[in-house]
Symmetry: C2
Subunit: 503 residues, 2 copies
Amino acid sequence: MLLLAWIAFITPIVAQDNVDLEMMYRIKTEGIQKSQIQDLSFHLTDFIGPRLSGSTNLRNARAWTSRKFQEWGLSNVKIDAWGEFGRGWNVKKSYIAMKAPYYAQIIGYPKAWTDGTAGQVSSEVVLLEISTDADLEKYRGKIRGKIVMAPANLTLNPAFEAEAKRWTEEELEQRKEISTGVQPSRYTPEALAQMRAQRELDQKLATFLLEEGVALRLTGTRGSFGTVFHTRAGSYSNDKKPTVPEIEIAAEHYGRIYRLIKNGKPVTVEAEVQVEWLDDDYKGYNVLAEIPGTDKTLKSEIVMLGAHMDSWHAGTGANDNAAGVVVMMEAIRILKALGVQPKRTIRIAIWGEEEQGLHGSRGYVQQYVADRTKKEKKAEWDKISAYYNLDNGSGKIRGIYVEGNDMVVPIFEKWLEPFHELGANTVTRRNTGSTDHVAFDAVGVPGFQFIQDPIDYGKGYHTNMDLYERMQFADMTQAAVIIAALVYNTAQRDEKLPRKPWN
Amino acid sequence: MLLLAWIAFITPIVAQDNVDLEMMYRIKTEGIQKSQIQDLSFHLTDFIGPRLSGSTNLRNARAWTSRKFQEWGLSNVKIDAWGEFGRGWNVKKSYIAMKAPYYAQIIGYPKAWTDGTAGQVSSEVVLLEISTDADLEKYRGKIRGKIVMAPANLTLNPAFEAEAKRWTEEELEQRKEISTGVQPSRYTPEALAQMRAQRELDQKLATFLLEEGVALRLTGTRGSFGTVFHTRAGSYSNDKKPTVPEIEIAAEHYGRIYRLIKNGKPVTVEAEVQVEWLDDDYKGYNVLAEIPGTDKTLKSEIVMLGAHMDSWHAGTGANDNAAGVVVMMEAIRILKALGVQPKRTIRIAIWGEEEQGLHGSRGYVQQYVADRTKKEKKAEWDKISAYYNLDNGSGKIRGIYVEGNDMVVPIFEKWLEPFHELGANTVTRRNTGSTDHVAFDAVGVPGFQFIQDPIDYGKGYHTNMDLYERMQFADMTQAAVIIAALVYNTAQRDEKLPRKPWN
């Protein structure tokens, strides 16, 4: 009751947020009738390919994106170094199969930034059963040139729930609820100590395997039915040490090798990994472009929209996050095509190196917006009205997370009104984490991410199967229209969007 | 109402079908407390591997199964040739990847009985757009040593329904309904003519590609997210001609190559397939074993249970049909372990070569039961009371299909009573097709297949992902118990099960 009364009280101050319905109509028409979503998606996924941070393909993707921005007539297009990332890495060949007890292909991918094998390697697989430092000694002197693996985690349950889904109205309503209780720590001190001990043991094991001259390490991974999730091995830093080559393989194939060895049946695996290291440029980059503002006083202010370009390496990063990049590109294309003359400057930022820690967006913020640790504001801190981000796949927009910023709730509720019949009607005070809007929110600049229908996102992101076929073009068309509208409204609003205080 | 009255009328004649509850209890106890399901499943899938008809692994599987039968003390264990199958074929190596526009692994498998490539082959992929004979000429002289493919079928929809499911009581009830209308032919004469024309064109194309010296043909296939369905290329017959090597690849990977070429971006693929042909034995085999009957007059009569051992070649044929084989092995193991002295002889048959046309079971029937085309009865026609088959994955038994045999309905309803709380309570008059019970039913000998929960069967059978992890051991334990019970009841019944007339 209190809350409702309070919203009623602040509603009048947002009268300025009545939307320009004619512009909304024009945005919808351009976005739906002249969509370039499918063509952009093809180019970024099939043609450019996977875009691991530092890889040749990511460089190609930056070049392609900036060419597109120039083609469309955007201003101040630049590929902007945010700082130092590390070495580039490309897979040149990858093959793995079981040779005995019978020949069987294995679905497996080199972990990111792993070293290659010494040509084709082949050996009986040694099962390493290590739970303490002392266990390492059991294998000393016995694993040179061998392929090794740890025991498997065997549980793979059938999927009694649909992999693909859309949020129901009821679920969206639940998504608005805010817990006011203090959340208990997720881990007990004992659990934390155990995790720390495990991490230390893992590091010792990695060093041990390298010293012992292991030929290849096999790792199991999440996923099933041929879908393989990715992680990374070793480091991409300039001064990285060599690592044991590592391939992560489909859970079922890993389980088979494990069960065979445990039952006393020797398993022989053959494999080859060739990789290429790039040492000509250690920097990381974002691609920036603008529609310049036209209002005499407001044009120095900025509305940003963006998404990350980098992906994991065995799919083509379709839902994570070619989808976001394509939607943001399309949103600014729509505005440019309509010849919009915004009051504030509209800037798109296609981030690099998100997957390793939001490096692109954090680097940008550090350089231009604010130093988070020193709590120092920089030139753009006061200029950016809002940053809009998309990074939850290609499902359509159902609403927006406002990161606890109560003051923007009535504004977004108003702005989403023309899009209710397209399925977007939920404004939640909740936080959502783990992608580039966080870099802005962390320094008190409004950064927003959208509620999207999950479709196949959860099943496919960070996997070998995050491919063109996962992308929902009709949904992405809706998302581009809505984002273009919010960006436009933000650019035209009398005031910048209200902010949470930044200490 | 009529139907109910009729069932009430025939109920008295099945008084003999009251079940021996103590024996049911003993079967359940042995099956549940001493289950060997998991161990047998491991051996048949992980350890033996895929069991394509004619392959070395299928030979190993027959040997292993017959050793198990001997170990358990079954009688008259034999590996029984049913006739001639054809050549054996094993994959010795398989590798495929995209080299340009960037390196990317491809999930793909040689089609069954394809020839190998001439070492590692590599070429730009040529897209063959052929819809008439005349189109072939466009490619004459231009595809020697090339890798070729046809246009892709691009639709891959997200799965908004769960892949795994159990039947609801309502769905089971619906499964009892029988349509009395005449089914219209599935195809119009025009559609049939078109299919025939397409088949002729396909054959011409295959010959053309061979004559033109194509290096490798790529084919798309059903499935998504890394799951690849299998088909076969060429022939396994003794006098087979050479064929163009053929690899079927994941739908997404096939789609990517197609889209790139259609958009004018050349694609290079490299691949290697090594296969081995076996010409030392063209025969096909079943594995047979018995618990001999003990009743003076009835012991010459037989109750049979069985499942097919052969599978497709890139998974390990777990749900299709190691599951059926293991359940049937376990069912007879339970009866043997209990020291059952059945009136009739109980015979298990583990069929070979089912996937290419029920060859094992049809060969057995032809040899011992009846000649279907000549309508000639043979020695066992009058002796076999019933044949029980399992071939719909590893989901538990929910009921039985009686193939229109109204006379057995009240018998099975009685016999399933002790298993209602295990989920098996549906007797449907419906037919179910396409596996080995059909060979018996076709000559008028009662052959039955069970209603099983589908779990992951539809998604995984005939795929690279039909692996150990798909098998539901608790469900298989239930199935083995129920089948042991039905087999026992059939062996002890005063009369053979009632039959449909065979003209």
